[in-house]
Every structure is written in structure tokens, then in C-alpha cells.
Subunit: 400 residues, 4 copies
């Protein structure tokens, strides 16, 4: 790769909120020779990754793996459970919620989109209220994004589940965990989610190219009557053959090697440790942002994302010019503002394969970038983050 | 990967007709760190692979890349161009043609399936005849498989094009080149194909996980009126952003690194040399099969596949037991018989990253496997293949 | 590596008698990030490889690892045990025995070289006779090469040990196992060898760059009085620190990763299985050579090497021109004739990471190369090898 | 590697002064299949790395490559040029100078060791004075260490050359550049060095296992009369065959792949840019150390090392306990104090494949480690480094 070879000295800091930095162990795993996807060796691999994924979703139910981006798993969730013209209730938490909504419309569904200001998560009360008014049960599904990658806001999934329950409404509950799974605590079974959508390239520390659905018994039942056309995304042939470790069409073998490795890493670290690590990095990052005198996009502290932090640029300064300075001078990629946040925010990914020193380097690159780019700010962000990290390091390591 | 480490000494011979042996160069390329799919470095990569693919498809038209298996590209071809209830004419050449047909039905299309005996390619005359009878142009598309991976039969794409032309029928022409692209001469533009479907894991020498559509202007026009629901597979957002080198949703970055490398390798070898190499390996393989006294499944010598050879087991001997002997004793995977050919044929993949000596080893493993498994045969297959390879080696190397 | 990328399709067949084909597992292992050679993680690695090596040498005594080629381990054996002017008895078995002898002379030793015709191993009787005449014990060491890489002749180490014992002579016994260790049965302790010399790039399936001494108590004793100058090769600082897992100077960390992996592979396959595999490949190769009507260089069937076979070219045909044909047409490297065998023999490496099908490909490349190069021969070599391999395959696999 | 897999999340920071962080490009390069070291492909590689090395040594003279650690190249320098009992003048700059001196004694040389306090470089005036007193030219060589890896002190090589010249003494001038080559400006020809000693695992960004001698014509002349025994290290057979791209004994092929890659990277960045980058990192590091209120070991600012900084622990606090805290809590390896500096200093490697953000992480790990370990210090070290890095970033990037 000529282009990859053009990097200046040292490793690139890939601090976008996904794809995240892929650990060497995972890269080396996907570099193994491709094997026969119908041979006995593959069966062991297939069964192993399907079993491991269930632990990460915290489910005993079915999980399917698609050779596809997360966008494909969104589509799979919809086409397996719904019929043309069905009404779906979605919450506008940001760019990705809006994309999922557009997809639903393209697929022939009707969507009611609970408007939001892109600084808050899905509102359980409004969902409860809306479901309460739907006496005829016209709404077939409630869809929310667990962690809005565009805003750094984490919705309270369990509270939404309780809201649905209080309303006594039978709608399916679907949750996008593309940028939360493997980074933020998530419980498919305990929280009564019907379809969980996930992807490989965030908390699972893999390159993009795999995506997932975790599927409740209720969702499986709905699939039987669902009339949206489906073939590639159809759960049924997957679930029919998966117990043998095989797939109905050629799987992305080498990415599955990587998945096998990343599951081993996550489970060895311990999921609760992984989540605690992300929460700690989130807090350290926010302390840095506040010390700089900049504003965190997420408006509700109970919804701060442990996976990424979106930061508002001070008036008149473009986020994209700032990000370019950081890329060119400090060899770091930060996430851009998307659609209506374009040029107004930058996003700091602090998820995946990351440690205290990588985070110091990341925050250092931002603080120095602000200086080089002439963006008004106070110094001391890295110091504030380090103070917190050092303070919590002792207990932290004991926990890990 | 514990399972991958359990191999006995020496390299596994992966001689199924795909996934094929992935060259070390490609494996090393996909092992590079994942980069920002919205950054400037990615744009160079994206533009480069899109340009390279056009050369391999021999087209000036659009090519799109999906993070998906080849099965996904089948679906993309259909949902972008057709509407519910549309009639499609397909040719039953084997298992994969049958799968594509089943998919079309699942997606809500009507399919007329020109019956075949799985030993021959698509019949231009029957297609012409059928189109000729369709005065009302009810048939919206003709779909054939260029190289039936299940049978080792290559259809005459150009002849089918001419048949359609002679009939004066406006149907779209769609061709599955999943196991031919990069192995067998194929000309999207010259042969007037409207949608070509392809995948990464055969002639392109990549792991599975990428698939492609090459799209004629006529197909693009059809897309405007097509009413099958589509979102993930929708060409339009792809084509809108691809010229910048980017993709509408997260691409499979690391597999794209591999694609970049494999395109470089194919174009450096020269496509015509690549095709000649495959033809030569096909002929050598068939000489071996005949010397063993076994029967080649493909009934028409003008349709012999340069990419794989399916071989009928002599009466009473199961192909799967034989393949197991070969796997356990000689560490080689051969392709199995699929659906109605189950246990009746084994398939020898001779496509992708392969040379004369790998082919000798492959044929040696079969000849020894026949002996170990007690399958009646004559010796001398490897000898016959070597005689041909040696005879043609001089001129061959001059050409390469 | 531009040059490495220029290969034609398919994998290169590296069938020289070392460096041998390095398994992917080993290549991937040496590709891990370099770690602190004074840190706790390294200590685990160091202790592990030192313990594993003892099993391969079949010794309870000390083994040292040099970041050096095998040539360095030759030098280490001499400078640790001998003094300027000491007399050493060496057996002329071929090019490598001659090189070791030249080294001894350069280092200031006197060498008596038992002449040989390069077609036979070291002669126990002549050694016994010579030692018997050395009443004054002027001879300080007897040095032989276990497997002459230049000739494909394996000396009977145990018989030489018995010859020394019968003579009652106190000379040290040193054996070069560079191309035998890990391929041919070898027993440092049981055979009473004082210094065994070995390298990484043959039976251990590693790239070149590591070499070894296994050291008896008697050799350690001799080291105390030995006066050849030594520093890099000095056993003492190595043995002082090795029990902690560390080394007195910076070790070749990444090659040690590879060693760790290859030791795991050898011990998992089982050393006796590894040796049996090599003997079987040697026999298959010789059957091919005889079928071609060519002459095996090794004159004594009890001394045939399981690791390589040197083949005499028929009169008037240069081996190097033939090897070039094989390289250019069949992408295979064969070993050249060295010094006085230059252009007269080619050497077939059948050691290391090799299986039945790789051997078929190897022999196929030679048989086709003979045809393309116009070297007089009979066909049927590959067939003869396959007959033997198939015949022995059933029992073989049971053993493995 | 089980042990390598036990790492906590994120990449290890290997900030010892060598082995340094090996770039992915180099790791991937050494992971290529091993090739025939006597084949045509190898010749291209051999010639290429030999030519590239000359540029890095800034020499037109000969350079030889050993499959050995840097310690081996020390030995090579001595045994090729000197005779038993020769007197050598060495400067005690620290642990590595002392090791080289011990080696010289072991090899049978007499050494006069100009005593030093391990906080300063070689003193040109004392060398000049001593040579001036050596009217009989008993001293055969002056040996200094360019960059003392144990102390972070860089000697003025050119000034020592001028001192020798002023004394009119004919002694050979030998310089150890093991931890300077590729990081600190060095000019073999211009500075009139006779033998330069170097290794792979520092500025050349390779794993350990290769070492080098650059050799002046005067040194080559001396080699003709030198009587220390030598064989492995002998320049002559190397120089005889190197012009063809080959080596007299098996080279460390895979490490040479890495060398090829690292030479490309260094020359693409531009040596002067590489040196400037290291100087900038050295200054940033020292600003951090001073802000912490700690003492830099190097006593003379003109001798500060751009490659590493050794820091004295404040009274009563052990460096090794501190380093352990940093390793366990922050996953970073720092260099230990060696021999008489044991437990008194820690060493920060800031050489090799390193960028601004890696340095921020490194210094952050130290500052947080000081806090966690309860070592008295002031905060603000990272801030001071960042201020300097940001200030110089604009011009810096323009230069690069």
C-alpha cells in the first residue's frame, strides 16, 4: 500500500469513534490463510464465535453474523420483522438515528420520528406517552440508538424498556449498539430487547465488515409474519445452519478469525473491566474538555458516552480546519461533525483498544492542535485528565 | 486461532473452487492498521480500487463495491433494477444458478427457469427462442452464471448477448461472474452486459467479504423506475459519493487494502496471461482426469471451465468419503458436490494464486487419495498433466 | 519489498536444504512487536525457549542461544573449549566439514583432516584407529558433521562415539547438527556428545539468524582451561544469566518468538513423528531419482540423508543451467553443488515444513525441469514417489 | 505467544533506549517468506541494503553486515584490526563503554581506560594529551561510544577526531554508534572514523539481530597485519563477496527484509529531518524533566542525547520500584539504571519510530507514575513538553 507507507514517523492515532484502533493480535489473526468454509476446521471457528458473541450481547438467544457493515444489520433488523407500511417509532438522537430512519422509509415503512436536539438521548417518557396513545397498536416497533456516535450521547435503554412495559404496548424493541457493544454495558436479555444491531469496528476492535443481530424469541415470532422482502438478510437460513458452525453463504472467513481473537481479548479482560475502563476514559476526557473551557455536546451528564466525546468549537472556529491541523501536525484522526453538526463539533473516540497513555497522547494532540490552530482555549486539559487518571490508577489496576 | 494451529506439517492445499489460496502479499496487505474511512488517505485508496476494478471488468461504466459476500451482489443486481412481480428469465446451469433463482423468488420476482442437466451452460438458442415468444416484453431481465462453480461449466456469455440481440428484446442482461472474474476472460462492455455480479474470494485472490456490481447505463436507467425496496444495496448513494473515493457507509477497509494489492498483482501479470494460465491449468487437470479413467462432469468441451473441474465418482463410490481421505491423509480440501450432485462429484479448484507445482501437488493428492480410498482408477494422471505442462512450459514462460 | 513482489503466480517452492520453508505460524510470530529484553515478559519467553530446546537436543545439559548464523555456533564450539595450537581431528565429509576445518585453522588450531570422497560419512574405524595411535592425547577434539548439507550424507554419530570410547581417548566430541536437528534423530546426552552445534534455518523451520550450542559437563570443564580468546561466544556469561530467562547482551527477540512457535509445533507433532516423516520423504525422493535413471550422490544406503538428496547430473549436463530452468519455469529453488561439486549436482531439500503434496510438487518440478532443459532421463519419478507415499500413507497417518 | 497475548488493553509503550518500537512496515517486511540466499532475488536485496547503509553511515567506504547483536560488531571492530597485547585507549563514558573495554581485555588487548563520572562524554583534550605522550605510538586505537545508552550523553566525535589529528598520532579511531546511528547526525567519512560499530535495534527501528561495521581504507590496511584470531567476524570474505549481493555464510534473511524497509523509511523522511525530530524530542523531554524538578544525568548541555534522557531519582527513591509502577499501571517500559547507576536512574528512550503524541503519552506515563509511586515531584512536565512541541510544530512540519 503506497499510501499507507507515506505516514510520517510513529503510529497514527486513530481517535475517531470507529473504526477504532485494531489490536495487533486481531490484525495478525485476520492475516491467517483462508480456510474451507465447509470444512471441519471452520465448524469449530463458527461455533466458537457464535458462542462468544452471546456473552458479549449478554443473551441466551440467537445471534447472527453478516458479512456486511453495521448498516446492513440495521436493514436486517427491519426486513426480518416488519411488513410494508408498518409504523415504526424512532427517536431522533442524532445523525445515525436519522440514517436508520431514512433507511426505514426507503424500505417502505412509515416512521414517526420523535424530534430531538442532538444533545440528548431517547426520552422514555415521550416514548411511553406515544405508545399510550396508540391504542390500536399500530406501532410495530420502537427503535433507538444506544450510543449516538454522532453526538456522544448514550440513551437509557433499560428506562425505555420500562417505559414500553408501563405502556403495556406490544411493539418490538430494537436497539442499535453499533458504537456501544463491547464498550458500554449492554444486556440484550435482561433489558428485554427484541433485536440488537451491532457492528465489528468499534468496541469489538475489528476492521469493518461484520455486523450482527441478536434476536429475541418474540422477534423470531414476528419474523414469521413479516412481509418485507428479504433474502441476504433472512434470519431463517442463518439460524437453520448456524448450530453446525456453518453459514448459508460464504462468510467473511478472515474477519471471523479476528472476531475469534477479539472475543478472547474482551472476555479475558472481563466485560465489566472493559466497561469500567471506558467510563474512566470518558471522565478523563471530559475533565480535559472542561479545563480547556470548551463545551461538551451532550447536555445531560447521565447520558455522557463512555465511548466518545463530541466537543463544540468555540464561536467562529471551524471544526474541520482544526481537525486538519491535528491530522497534519500531529498525525491523529478525530471524528468530524456530521450533517447538521458539520464543522461545529469534533469527536474524540476513546473506545476500543486504548490505554491511559494513548489517551494522554490523544488529549495532548488536541491541546497542542488548539494552540497551533489558534483556537481560543485554556491550557491544562491534559493535566486535568492525568490528575484523574493517576488518582484512579491504583484502584483501577486492582480491579483489572 | 487454536484450530488453525492444529495443522500437520506443511501448507494446507485449499483446492476448492473458492475461497482460493490468498497470496501472502494480499494477507499482509489486509493486516495493515485500519485507517479513517473519511480521511484523505482513504480517498486515494478508494479511487484506486474503483479504477482498478474497471480494468478487470473491462468496463468504462460504473462499478460498486459492497462490504458483503457475492450473494449480496446478486441481491443488489436484482433490487436495483426490478420491481415486485417482474418476470426474469434464468438458466438452470447448476446449484448457484438455482440459488440465484430462489433469491429472486424470495424477493418477489417471478422467475422462468430454463431447465438444465447441470452439465451444460446456458443455451443461447433457447434464450433467443423464449425471448422471441415474449412479444409483450414481460421478461425484464435475462440472468446467467458465467462460470457455474458447482459444475465446472462456463457459459458463452457473448453468444447469449448475441441471442438477446437477435431477438430484439429489451430485457436487461445480468451475469454472475463470481467464480470467473480474474480467472476467465470477461468483457462487461464489449459483451453488452447490464449488471455483472462478482465477489472477492475467487479469481481476485482475496478472502470473502467484498462483492461487486458493474453497471451499464441501461441498468442505471432501469434503476430509476425499479420498485423493489432497497437501501443497503442501493447504487445511487454509492455512485454519488464514490468519485471522491468515499462510501456512503463504512466500507470494509482492510479487505480494500487486499483488493488494492490483488489488483496490482493481476494487472502486473497481465489479464491475458492470467486467463491463459487458467486455461492451461484446466487442460492439464482434464488430462489427468482422463488418464485416471474418470469422467468430467462438463459435457461440452467448448464449455470446460478454466477455473475448476468437477469430476464424477465411479459408480458406488461416495465423493465425500473420498474427499475426507484426501483431507486427512494429504491435507488438501477439495470442493464437494452440491445439492443434487451431493456425494457424486468432487470439484478441483485450479484458479487464483496457483502455479505448475501447486497443480502437480493437487493432482498428486487426488491420485494418491484415489489409491488410499480404494476408488477404481488408472495411474498416470499426474504424469499426463506433467507431460502437458512441461510441453507448454517453454512457450508459456515466454508469454508471461 | 519490491523484489519479493515480483514473483509469478503461486507460492515459490524453496526446496534448497535450508533455509527451509518457514511456516506461516512462525512468520506471524516473528512479526510481533519487539519487547523489553530486560522485562518480566521476556523472562518467560527466554526460559521457555531454553527449556524447549533441551527437548529437541535430547539433553539435560546446558544449551546456549546465539544471535548469529550457524557458522557462529561452530566458532563458539571451538573457542570455548580449545587453546591455540591444539590438535583437532575432523572428518572430510563435504563442503561444510571443509569450512569448519578452515575456520579451525583460522582460529589458530591444528587440524588433521581425515580425507573423504564427499559421498560417505565420517568413518568410525578410521577415527578409532587414529585416536588409538595418539597415545599422548595430543588430539583435543573430534569434530564431525552429522548431516552433510552439501552431499546428503548422514554420519553415524553413535558409532563414532563408540569408536572414541573403544579407543579410550579423552578427546572432546563435537558434532555439527545444523541440517539435522529437528529433522533427523539426534541424542546429545545418550550419544555422549560434548558440544552440539545447530542453527535455526533448517529443521527448526525458522529464518536464519539464531544458532545454538548444547554443552556437556565435560565441555564445560574444558572451557575453564581453554585459552582461545573469546567474548561474544563465551558460554560463561550466557550460562550465568540464562536461568533467569535473560541474556548477557541483546538477544534477537523476534527470532526467539519464532523459535518459541517452532518448538511448540515440533513437540506437538512429536519428534519421532517428525523424524519418521523426514525418512519417508527421503525414501520417496530417492525412488523418484532412481526412476529418472539418475544417480544419488550418497554412496552408502545406511547413510542416506532424510533431510536432503544430492543428485548427480548425467554427463555433460550442467546442474546450474538445469536449476536455472527450474527456477525460471517452475518457480522453485533447488540447492546448488558446492565447491568441488559445483555444477555437478543439484540438491533437493525435503526437510522442515513439508508435506506429501509439497513433495509431489517438488519432484514434479524436477521431472518437468529435466524435460524442459533437455536432460536425459526416464519419466516416472513422480509416479514412483507417489506409489510409495500412497502405500505408506495409511500407516503413516495412524502414526501421526 | 501466550505471554505476548497477556497484555492489557492498548499498545505497550516501549520507551527503553532500544530495542525501540519497530514500525508495522518493518514487522510486516520481516514476515515475508524466507528466500534462497544464493538466488538472484537475494542478490538484489543484498546490494540494495548495502548501498542504503552507506548513506546512513555517510560513507563511501565499505560496510559489512553481521547476523549478530551489536556486541558482535564491537568484537568485529577489534579482532579485524588489532593483535594480541596491543594497547587501546578507551574513554569511560558509562556502562557500555565499560563493557566494550572488558571485551577488549578478554580478547587479549591491553586497555587504558580514561576514567569518567558517567555524566560526561569522551574528553577530546585528555585524549589529545594522552596520545601526545605516546611518542612510540604504542596505542593502536582510540575507541569511544558516540551516544552512551546508559547515560544519555553524546560525545563529540568530530572533536575527538580533531584531537587525534592535532596529536599527530596514527592510532585507529573506532566509534560505537549503536544507539546513535539513524537518530543523531553521524558522518563516518567526514569525521575520519576508521571503524564505526552499529546495530539494528535502535535508530534503524529493527528488531535486534543485525550489526554493522563501516570500515575506512586505513582500517582495512590494519586488518592485513592484525593477528587476533578471527573467522566469523573476518571482514575479508565479506568484502570479497558482498559486491555480488551475497554473503560468505547464511545471512539473517528476514531481518534484511526489515533493514530494506527501514532504510527506505529513513531516507524517505530525510536523515536531516530524522535528526531534527530526535533533537526536538530530546529538548521536549528535558523540559518535562526540569518541570518535574528532577535532575538530568547528563552534566553538559552540549552533550545532551537526542536519543534518550537518563533521569536521577530524588534521594531515597528507587528507580526500579518506580519503573515497576509505570509498567504495571501504565503499560510502559522505561530503561533501567545499569551497573553503578542501578536503581538510581531511569532512562527515557525517545528514539526511533516516535511522534509528538507518543512522546506525550510517554511523558504522561512518567508524570502519572511519579504520582502513583509517591515520588516527590512537581506537576507540569507534560505541559512544559507540550508547550515546546506546539510552539515548534508549525516550523517543524514545514521542514518535514
Amino acid at each position: 500500500m503506497i499510501s499507507l507507507n507515506s505516514h510520517p514517523s510513529g503510529r497514527h492515532f486513530l481517535q475517531i469513534p470507529g473504526p477504532t484502533n485494531v489490536p495487533d493480535r486481531v490484525l495478525r489473526a485476520i492475516d491467517h490463510v483462508t480456510i474451507d468454509h465447509r470444512g471441519p476446521e471452520f465448524a469449530v471457528l463458527g461455533q466458537s464465535v457464535l458462542a462468544g458473541l452471546k456473552k458479549v450481547f449478554k443473551t441466551e438467544a440467537d445471534v447472527v453474523i453478516y458479512p456486511a457493515s453495521g448498516t446492513g444489520a440495521w436493514e436486517a433488523a427491519l426486513v426480518n420483522t416488519l411488513s410494508p407500511g408498518d409504523l415504526v417509532l424512532m427517536a431522533e438522537t442524532g445523525h445515525f438515528a436519522a440514517l436508520w430512519k431514512s433507511m426505514a422509509v426507503k424500505l417502505g415503512l412509515r416512521v414517526e420520528f420523535l424530534a430531538g436536539d442532538w444533545r440528548r438521548g431517547a426520552d422514555p417518557q415521550r416514548i411511553e406517552a406515544r405508545l399510550g396513545r396508540d391504542a390500536g397498536h399500530e406501532i410495530k416497533a420502537v427503535c433507538i440508538v444506544h450510543n449516538e456516535t454522532a453526538t456522544g450521547v448514550t440513551s437509557h435503554v433499560e428506562a425505555v424498556r420500562q417505559a414500553i412495559d408501563r405502556s403495556g404496548h406490544p411493539a418490538l424493541f430494537m436497539v442499535d449498539t453499533i458504537s456501544s457493544l463491547g464498550s458500554i454495558d449492554y444486556r440484550h436479555d435482561e433489558w428485554g430487547v427484541d433485536v440488537t444491531v451491532a457492528g465489528s469496528q468499534k468496541g469489538l476492535m475489528l476492521p469493518p465488515g461484520l455486523s450482527f443481530n441478536a434476536i429475541s424469541a418474540k422477534a423470531l415470532g414476528a419474523a414469521q409474519g413479516a412481509r418485507l422482502a428479504r433474502s441476504y438478510w433472512d434470519w431463517q437460513p442463518m439460524l437453520a445452519i448456524n448450530p453446525t458452525g456453518y453459514f448459508p453463504y460464504t462468510p467473511a472467513t478472515n474477519l471471523l478469525y479476528g472476531l475469534h481473537e477479539s472475543l478472547e481479548m474482551l472476555l479475558a479482560e472481563g466485560l465489566e473491566n472493559v466497561f469500567a475502563r471506558h467510563r474512566r476514559f470518558g471522565e478523563a476526557t471530559r475533565r480535559a474538555v472542561r479545563a480547556w473551557g470548551l463545551e461538551i455536546l451532550c447536555a445531560d451528564p447521565t447520558e455522557y458516552s463512555p465511548a466518545l466525546t463530541a466537543v463544540l468549537m468555540p464561536g467562529g472556529h471551524g471544526a474541520d480546519a482544526f481537525r486538519r491541523v491535528v491530522l497534519e501536525h500531529f498525525n491523529m484522526s478525530l471524528g468530524q461533525g456530521l450533517s447538521k453538526l458539520k464543522d461545529q463539533v469534533f469527536r474524540i473516540g476513546h473506545l476500543g483498544d486504548l490505554n491511559d497513555l494513548t489517551l494522554c497522547g490523544t488529549l495532548g494532540g488536541i491541546e497542542m492542535g488548539l494552540a497551533v490552530a489558534g483556537v481560543p482555549h485554556r491550557k491544562g486539559g491534559v493535566q486535568a485528565a492525568m490528575d484523574y487518571l493517576a488518582e484512579t490508577a491504583k484502584n483501577w489496576q486492582l480491579a483489572a
